[in-house]
Symmetry: C2
Subunit: 477 residues, 2 copies
């Protein structure tokens, strides 16, 4: 017996006529002779050739789809099509059977919805193996990008007491017996709860991230964030991962440059490291789009779209310029938008973002300088008195993938804006302290990790790019 | 003006007599002449030399501890002690003032407790700058280790519905108004809650991690985990980060080898990348220990301890062997243990672990094959019918830093154990499915990230190695 070699390494081997041990799960077994074996290290299967005439029929019967097996044999150059090497089995050991009558993952095309219900087994399909290997590479590339640039990875808290940002519905975290919540004068007595106060799951690590940046210069978070919104869409999750860099001594231009560089870096990394996975996902998307009418199909395939994104500068323009374009656009004039664009000041809807990105510029777009009334209190106020130094990056097919801004570093301006919006300053004393002591221009942004994975894998539903999605009425697995 | 250069790069510069712009926070200002400036990129400050006779006195007055400044000037070889280069200031700009009467972080030694209460500003001290840079490097090295070995980083869910593992008290996650929890027949009506069922914060990603490993071969998690235990100790947090690798086709020996290799890899990485930080922390610990009686001081300093850990194999022995050593030990015979070691079967207390690691072997220890009754249901049962293939790694000064096992891959054995322990099999149908379809030997472990950071930084309180610690009655920031 030899040490087990992973299938990815085996398929890349330049040596043949050597003894190998491979282990994995049977994807297919043809003619009692050819096993397609996969161990998750690569999208490709290795072909195992079985000498069925000299193999115990009882063993052959147990080589079923989904079974885990160990194969010892000789690696040889393959005569067949589709592979350069194959393994001539000398011994086959069944590690774990898989009853073909009961195994949910059959060697056929399952619907994505069926696989979502079997998320514990969908990793064993080519599509989901590819998705989660790509997801891994994107995550690693994010860490690598920031490591190379001297950013400190900061674990900001998941459980927070401050709900001051008001960024949406939050989940409560409690140690109370919900059958018997202690009350004082008819109100919940949070003093008795675990943290001695009301606590929630974080919606963003930004505010705490800024505290780190105002000492360490450049930090980033990469952690889970939560929204208790009752949104059953293909773009929203109750639990999702965000990357939030914060940079001291940086303005909105530095912010845009860093975000664009980050996105290009991680896409390039995945294209290089996961070539076969992305080729597979490109073909998957082509097959899926074949069922659509010609005019709804993408102009570029997945790989082309990713390469295009690397090769071109993102289009940078202000919100005000975008409104002008939208007002004059054909769909607006022909009243094709659900929400007509009439004037300056309203928030952009998904249909408007998609028009800008997919029809007008046909490339990623960075919109800046939004009206302050549709943006958060911590964004730096521009001199015009109307706008803030915000920046959103819009991606084709995805919409907003990055949202960020230069932060308001001036204590008086920040406090004034908090007062206007009714945000309690005493709860955020620690945030304001960074403006009291050694404040400086700084900027940051949030990147929605699952939206990035959607873009790079070409998948259409965000529930398919996170291992075990959380959404209304679902916390299975 | 030139582009800003970070202080780490500036201090490593081999060029002098060049114009530079540096930005950072004032750590000290001596004799109206020498500014110690730090920007968090390194433990070291750069010395800024001010020509005070030709500088506006109003400006000089604003160069206070904690102020953020931008300096343009010439980088020259330094004549002074303690630095090789310094910057002769040409212009100084105050970016953010810091009132010396009010700024909490004074240029003196603050207690760790005081700094914990000012966790939003403690990043600006040498000690916490060093800690969080080391923490970053350890996190990056963990990702790098697994990337090099083909592991897939898997984001297992934070919100889970299954409390089946019974690993301790969990936090509830709910969308209910706690003042008005809906009930049916006097019981909480979870059907109305966000997820349509009772939900908690995860205590471990292991079970979901195994699902990934049973398809992708090697996966790891690195995410937050939670315990709602009312423990006010220097070793426990309510929210902490764990790394949990799971490996298919692996046994307990592979598991030990991987865990030991991982720990050595990341310690070596931090020693290399954060030499100055760890030197600073070594001196800090020496200073702290000077206040202890001689016999309570460490035999090795921090760097020596880390290097020793790299240079020596971890001691591997069984629980049974450990019990024999402890029974015969001097403290046991002299009744110095709070919990006397009398026989086989009881769990080891911290004092026993410390004796083994710090007194008997004087090196990291891997204990294996614990009695099944003190370990979890998913651990693989050994042939002796009494023990399971568990492995715990014990570190000097820390105690258990890793806990893991070969997992029970045999459906009948697993179900039998679940029945014995009253663990509901229907709730874990998806976990059992991996044993029904293509099961295989596999193993994994959990590494407590903060305990690792404690070990490498030489800090004594776990609340000092996570940015914003969560513990009973505390969720500030």
């Amino acid at each position: 017996m030899s040490t087990r070699i992973k299938i990815k390494a085996l398929l890349e081997s330049t040596q043949t006529d050597i003894d190998v041990t491979v282990k994995g799960w049977v994807r297919a077994f043809r003619q009692n002779r050819f096993i397609a074996l996969n161990d998750g290290s690569t999208n490709n299967n290795v072909q195992i050739v079985v000498d069925f005439e000299n193999t115990d029929p009882a063993l052959l019967k147990r080589i079923t789809v989904g079974a885990a097996i160990s194969v010892y044999g000789k690696l040889i150059a393959s005569q067949g099509k589709g592979q350069t090497v194959e393994v001539i089995a000398e011994t086959i050991e069944i590690l774990g059977d898989s009853d073909p009558e009961k195994y949910p993952i059959q060697p056929k095309k399952h619907s994505l919805e069926f696989l979502r219900e079997n998320a514990h087994l969908r990793f064993r399909t080519s599509t989901f193996g590819a998705i989660f290997r790509v997801r891994h590479s994107l995550a690693f590339a994010i860490h690598k990008f920031f490591e190379e640039r001297g950013f400190v990875y900061l674990h900001t808290p998941i459980i927070t007491a401050s709900d001051a940002e008001g960024a949406g519905e939050t989940f409560h975290v409690t140690n109370f017996d919900l059958n018997n919540v202690p009350k004082v004068d008819g109100e919940v007595d949070y003093k008795q709860d675990f943290f001695g106060r009301s606590a929630n799951l974080t919606v963003s690590g930004q505010l705490e991230g800024e505290l780190g940046a105002m000492a360490l210069s450049d930090i980033y978070t990469f952690g889970p964030t939560f929204r208790a919104e009752n949104s059953n869409t293909t773009r929203h999750l109750a639990e999702f991962w965000m990357i939030e860099p914060e940079m001291a001594f940086a303005d909105i231009i530095d912010n845009m440059d860093t975000a664009e560089a980050l996105l290009k870096y991680v896409i390039a990394y995945a294209l290089d490291k996961n070539k076969e996975d992305i080729e597979f996902l490109t073909q998957r998307l082509l097959d899926e789009e074949k069922q659509k009418p010609q005019n709804e199909r993408s102009e570029m395939n997945l790989i082309e779209k990713l390469q295009f994104c690397l090769a071109n500068n993102f289009e940078r323009l202000t919100y005000t310029e975008a409104i002008d374009i939208l007002k004059e656009s054909t769909p607006n004039k022909k009243k094709k938008f659900q929400y007509p664009v009439e004037g300056w000041g309203t928030d952009l809807q998904s249909e408007h973002e998609r028009y800008l990105v997919e029809k007008h510029f046909k490339k990623p777009v960075i919109l800046t300088d939004y009206p302050k009334d549709i943006k958060s209190f911590y964004m730096r106020q521009n001199d015009d008195g109307k706008t803030v130094a915000a920046m959103d990056i819009l991606f084709p097919g995805i919409g907003e993938i990055v949202g960020g801004s230069q932060r308001e570093e001036r204590l008086d301006k920040l406090e004034q804006r908090m007062d206007e919006l009714g945000i309690p300053k005493d709860e955020l004393w620690w945030y304001l302290d960074t403006r009291r002591f050694g404040s400086c221009p700084h900027a940051g942004f949030g990147l929605g990790f699952e939206r990035l994975v959607l873009f790079v894998t070409g998948m259409g539903n965000i529930r398919d790019v996170i291992p075990f999605p959380r959404f209304p009425k679902n916390a299975e697995f």
